[in-house]
């Protein structure tokens, strides 16, 4: 596991972001980001609300259009019109704050949908994979439940299993525990922690500072659409260089 930040494109670069800008109308949310993430790296993004953390994450699989700059993921340039986004997205799993499970399907159907529709697996194989994934997130007994019957923590674990079903090599977490009751945060963080331990490349937008400190290889602090400071958890939490980082950490820690 790499332990230091790396601002130049390296051979092992999994995600390469250059001069990324994003505006909604006249409101510029991202004002030029440069980020390199290497394979197997776990990057946590922290910062106050409205700093652009989530937008940055959504630009990495192009759920939001880029206004300027380049994003290269797994060698695919997302700005290139000829790139098949659906293909790229199969390499990138995404977990949302509000789970976004499909309410009209069972847990198993939620997980099997993409592998079957994308013809990656036969129904029988997809079912076996889904059951394995459910077992992995500790919900093997919920296969035939509907999302409405699950607790928030269970829903989020199903959502993680669902995004793992297409076998991604990058995972994006968008405030995955923010909508959860406190007693359920732990079970979800544990799943993410396990993924990190397996060497998954991950970008985690989070408010859980303790988790970031524990799991991250690198922490990025964003404010007002720019990266204010980044470093190892020890550097950023132990010895923040910028005043804004210090202010923010003083409030949340």
């Amino acid at each position: 596991m790499s332990t230091s930040s790396n601002n130049t494109a390296s051979v092992g670069s999994k995600i390469s972001v250059r001069g990324l800008r994003k505006s909604f109308g006249s409101n510029e949310v991202l004002k030029g980001l440069d980020v390199e993430i290497t394979e197997g790296e776990v990057v946590c993004v922290i910062g106050p609300s409205g700093s652009g953390k989530s937008t940055f994450l959504r630009c990495l699989n192009k759920l939001d259009e880029l206004s300027a700059g380049t994003v290269i993921v797994d060698g695919f340039n997302l700005g290139d019109k000829t790139v098949d986004l659906n293909e790229v997205r199969q390499h990138i799993g995404m977990v949302f704050q509000h789970f976004n499970l499909f309410p009209h399907m069972t847990v198993l159907q939620n997980i099997m949908l993409a592998p079957v529709e994308l013809k990656k697996e036969s129904k029988v194989d997809a079912r076996a994979t889904a059951l394995t994934l459910l077992d992995r997130v500790g919900l093997a007994d919920k296969a035939d439940a509907r999302p409405g019957q699950l607790s928030g923590g269970q829903k989020q674990r199903v959502a993680i299993a669902r995004s793992l079903a297409v076998n991604p090599d990058i995972m994006l977490f968008d405030e995955a525990t923010s909508a959860l009751d406190p007693e359920m945060v732990g079970e979800v963080l544990q799943v993410i922690r396990d993924l990190a331990a397996e060497g998954m490349t991950m970008v985690v937008v989070t408010h859980e500072m303790g988790f970031a400190r524990e799991v991250a290889d690198r922490v990025i602090f964003m404010a007002d659409g720019v990266i204010v400071e980044e470093g190892t958890p020890a550097e950023l939490f132990g010895n923040p260089q910028q005043e804004r980082t210090q202010d923010f950490l003083a409030k949340v820690l």
Partner: protein, 490 residues
Amino acid sequence: MNMSRARKLSVAVTALLALASGFAGVSAVAASQPNSHVQPQAAVAGETYVIGTDTTFAPFEYRKDGELTGIDMDLIRDIAANQGFTVEIKSLGFDAALQALQSNQVDGVIAGMSITDERKLVFDFSDPYFDSGVQMAVAEDNTEITGYADLAGETVVAKRGSEGETFANSIKDEYGFTVKALADSATMYDDVKAGNSVAVFDDYPVLAYGINQNNGLKSVTEKEQGSSYGFAVNKGQNPELLAAFNTGLAELKSNGEYQSILDTYLKQPAPVAASGFFGLLSDSLPALMKGLGLTLLATGLSIVVALVLGVLFGFFKVSESRVLRGLASIYVSIFRGTPLLVQAFFFYFGLPQLTGQPIDVLTAGVLTLSLNAGAYMTEIVRGGIQSVDPGQTEAGRSLGLGYVTTMRRVVLPQAVKIMTPSFINQFVMTLKDTSLLAVIGFAELTYQGQQIYAANFRTGETLLIVAALYFIVINLLTMLSNKLDKRFNK
């Protein structure tokens, strides 16, 4: 009906006589049957002409046991037989028949129409076939109105665009009354009986026939010297049809057939004994059921087309293309922003005038209803899709599923569930809207009801039956739809 049956009999008898008595018989056939094979009008022989008429102008045209009958009907059919052409009668309503003639939807109109200078500007008229005149009638129990002088400050009713209206307007200032126009005789009589108007001005044969049918009115003035009725074709069109009508009319007059037609309808028809409500029910049910069938047919076809339009334009509305969104918005605002009735008139009368291509009434009706309902369906589809949490689409897309797959597997199943109650609602609305197609002469349930009370003047009871049929069918269909909704959208 009686006329033509009697004629056939006489033909058969004379034919037998001819066989029996040789030469003398042959001349008898020629005399009593100066028909197609004797002196056919070359131009019209074998042709079929579409003739428009009023729905409710007894005794000139009305329905008896579901069949169109009356002076005009017997006259045009006998003239057609006499001149060797065929007619297809379209019972449209007076205004509608004239508009249909102008848009060449029909070849001719016979509808107890007065020959006036104004009408001569747009139509060519035959020789007059009936001398009419306007008469005034009041409710049977009204003893206060005995002449025009008693009308001061009152409201009278006349048929829109008719000679009665013209006459009433010509004397309204002199006597100080107000004229209200309605579309058909039965409605006018009910208006007088209900006390909304004190008197009605109508053509005397119509009035006389209605009074004899116990319509609850009495005439209180002498007939005004009026104009004459003529058969009309569109200006400059079908001159051979007009010529054939004139020749045929002259022949019917000379052989006595004309007078016998008039006598059948005008010479003191016996007052009909009013049957009870259940008598009316059993008499009217066959025609009403036929109408109900057409109502359901038009509803079914319209809903299917509207569903296709709604889904298509609904997707346009939520698409990323500005052009498609604009297209859908224009479509919706046009059809939601104009009355259905105006749309029906436009598609049936206006469109043929613009394109020169006639359109049949079912097509025009379904076109109207489906385009109209389609606009509402578009909004239902748009609303349904947009009410699904955008996070659902994002989840689908982030898994690598394409737009279509995400729509099909993730968004639509949820949207359809949201839309279904609105769909059922629109379905019921469209079924009820079919009743508006009565105005363009589409023979659906309401139209059949109008036909029935136009002939028997039992408006209230007939409408009650019509309303009950709508009520039963709509509630049955709603129950069925809700049951299906529950089953498939758990």
